[in-house]
């Protein structure tokens, strides 16, 4: 298990079942039984998934007697969303710059003539 909290969250969310559970919990707190309902898996299997999410800090369980509803830690998820969005935005910004470069390139460019030495492009 990765040491830093963010990696733990990433790892926890690498599983599609756990992502589904998180999506369900975004709607509201739910019990283990309620979480297990959409799946053809045992309550034990769901509990195992929950343990991973809990260790990552994504969900918490109250000490509320029998029911013990599972609660999504929205702040942790927000951190993730911010992070992934930032990554996506970085890639998008890079490709928008590439869009500009492509627009500025003349059409029908001849391939580099073989007589010309390969450009090392070292602007010093």
């Amino acid at each position: 298990m990765a040491a830093d909290p963010l990696s733990r969250v990433f790892s926890a969310l690498a599983d599609p079942t756990r992502r589904d559970m998180v999506a369900r919990l975004a709607i509201g707190d739910a019990t283990v039984n309620e979480l297990a309902r959409p799946y053809v898996v045992t309550v034990q299997a769901v509990s195992k998934h929950l343990k991973v999410l809990e260790d990552a800090g994504l969900v918490s369980r109250t000490r509320e007697a029998q029911r013990r509803p599972v609660h999504l830690e929205a702040d942790v998820l927000d951190l993730m969303t911010t992070w992934i969005e930032r990554y996506r935005r970085t890639a998008e910004e890079r490709y928008r710059r590439l869009d500009d470069v492509l627009r500025s390139m003349p059409d029908g460019v001849e391939p580099t003539p073989p007589s010309e030495p390969p450009s090392t492009g070292a602007p010093t």
């Binding site: 990433f10 999506a23 975004a26 992934i84 590439l98 070292a122 602007p123």
Partner: protein
């Protein structure tokens, strides 16, 4: 020319530590490839805006190698790698190492696909050493997972 914006899609593989980015461009594969292989063009878009990119060498052909430096606020970060397979307007397979972590290496593949109408679909994948390394820059399918969660929430609130 249309000024359509194209969505950058990011996905991660479940079975191997791989990140995939898919993006379409309003230019034919020949041009998009050139913008990747000609260092004079590459420096105009690859590095982050606040960073100055200096190319040490960039020999984009099968068996070639590259090295470039990002300079930002007095700090310099070097990156280098080898070109394992280069097929003009079609494919670039290369390694990528950040010199701050010289033992680490990513295997990158950029595919240029002609989708007609003078347009190109670019698929860039990056395969790293471990899931920890991959997850350090991306959660598998997080985008979809979270978005779907919020969409379901929106639907519920609207209903």
């Amino acid at each position: 020319m249309t000024t359509s914006t194209h969505e950058t899609r990011i996905t991660a593989d479940r079975d191997v530590p791989l990140v995939r980015i898919v993006r379409e461009f309003d230019a034919p594969p020949e041009k998009v490839f050139r913008a990747h292989s000609d260092p004079a063009l590459l420096v105009q878009w690859l590095g982050p805006r606040r960073v100055t990119m200096r190319v040490d060498h960039y020999d984009c052909r099968t068996g070639g190698s590259y090295r470039y430096i990002h300079a930002s606020g007095g700090n310099e970060f070097g990156f280098h790698g080898s070109f394992h397979e280069v097929r003009p307007s079609e494919l670039i397979v290369q390694t990528f190492t950040f010199e701050g972590m010289p033992d680490g290496v990513a295997l990158e593949r950029v595919r240029f696909e002609d989708i007609g109408g003078g347009r190109t679909r670019l698929t860039a994948t990056s395969l790293v050493d471990s899931f920890e390394a991959r997850d350090a820059f991306l959660a598998s399918g997080m985008e979809g997972g979270v978005r779907e969660g919020y969409e379901r929430l929106d639907e519920l609130l609207a209903g």
